[in-house]
Symmetry: C2
Subunit: 208 residues, 2 copies
DNA sequence: CCTACCGATCGGTAGG
DNA sequence: CCTACCGATCGGTAGG
């Protein structure tokens, strides 16, 4: 029999499950993430996995939360020290490119939020709600940075922050697709050119 | 026992399977499309479904081909009579918005190509290859239209057609996400504003 | 954290 | 096009 572990050991096991779950879900999706696959990969029993989460849905939410922490660490943190306004917005965007281009060890199948967004966008439930919420939080953060850049005079007055955010999100969805599906090495350069146009001091205002 | 059907009846059944398969796969993905679900929905046996395709992979490829026909009908055809160059490109883009916004009866879960792209981008196999091929065909078509618009003087000389195509694709990936995941009614208007900027006679050239 | 098990469903086949 | 079936796997539970 295997004895009950200490709280610290349990936390460490939980972390291992989540890290592995992120990698699997990045490739197979959050529905394609199965408890049996996790158990095999980690050399555990299915009941051992499930004991940490109770249900698959709770596991999916924990994996999503873990991926969110990775995103914050890879994209938000590196830009935190940049001056507010356009410099910080550009630092954020550059870190975002690196996240999609280089975080293959964590996300072998590409950005988990993109995968989960498409996977759950036509369903109900707590996972879908969590994906939508994370998406809105990130968009709000981007729009706030754009607003600061406008206030600082780094972007033209009259710029629509939601419009710029929408176009930024599109750029990165396209980048993810070109990297993952088409394996196009030109993709990051194209993203940077789009950013140069979108985040330029003389960018045309979007008329409403 | 149920007698063998005529070739015409078999074709009609095959069509029904594919149409239903497109609707299911749009919501559940091409992997989430199961033979049992199709059988229940259509009042057939699983063997009856499988008899038309042999394997699930062949069914997935047939569903993808059917969705491609819908896309061609909804987006390519309406623009075919527009004059080459910018007018046709804009007609294509407008039909593309309508396709994402209104084809809910055919694709209740949103664009099947977006779903399949993310679902298979980290796998191998014939389905992934087919998705990537369709994606490249559409990008080439868009780039060719941009090139014609430049040749006609409707877009600035020096415009990079692949760059514009990349940004167009991004716009529509973002539109699909805002419609499906975020249910944002402003999304089509935002897409049109992005197009106005991207496909304007005085759009800034993308430096390489 | 394990073993041992549950009913449901998966893709697919045999045979008609 | 059907019934009847196959082994594998799904999420989850009982009990320790």
């Amino acid at each position: 029999m295997s004895p009950r572990k200490s709280a610290a050991e349990a936390r460490s096991t939980r972390r291992r499950i989540i890290d592995r779950g992120i990698a699997i879900a990045s490739v197979e999706g959050l529905e394609g993430l199965t408890i049996g696959r996790l158990a095999t990969d980690l050399g555990m029993s299915k009941a051992g996995i499930l004991g940490h989460f109770g249900t698959k849905e709770t596991l999916q939410l924990a994996v999503l939360e873990g991926a969110s922490a990775v995103f914050v660490h890879s994209v938000w943190h590196p830009a935190e020290d940049a001056p507010p306004g356009l410099p910080r917005l550009r630092a954020l965007c550059e870190a975002w490119i690196g996240y999609l281009e280089h975080e293959r060890a964590v996300f072998p199948g590409g950005c988990l939020f993109t995968t989960a967004s498409v996977e759950f966008d036509a369903r109900g439930g707590r996972v879908r709600d969590a994906v939508a919420r994370l998406s809105r939080v990130w968009r709000r953060r981007l729009a706030a940075e754009v607003r600061q850049a406008v206030a600082a005079g780094d972007l033209p007055a009259g710029t629509d922050p939601e419009q710029v955010t929408y176009e930024l999100v599109g750029c990165y969805l396209a980048l993810n697709q070109e990297l993952q599906l088409l394996a196009d090495p030109e993709a990051p350069a194209r993203t940077r050119r789009a950013l140069d146009r979108l985040l330029a001091p003389d960018a045309p205002v979007h008329p409403r």
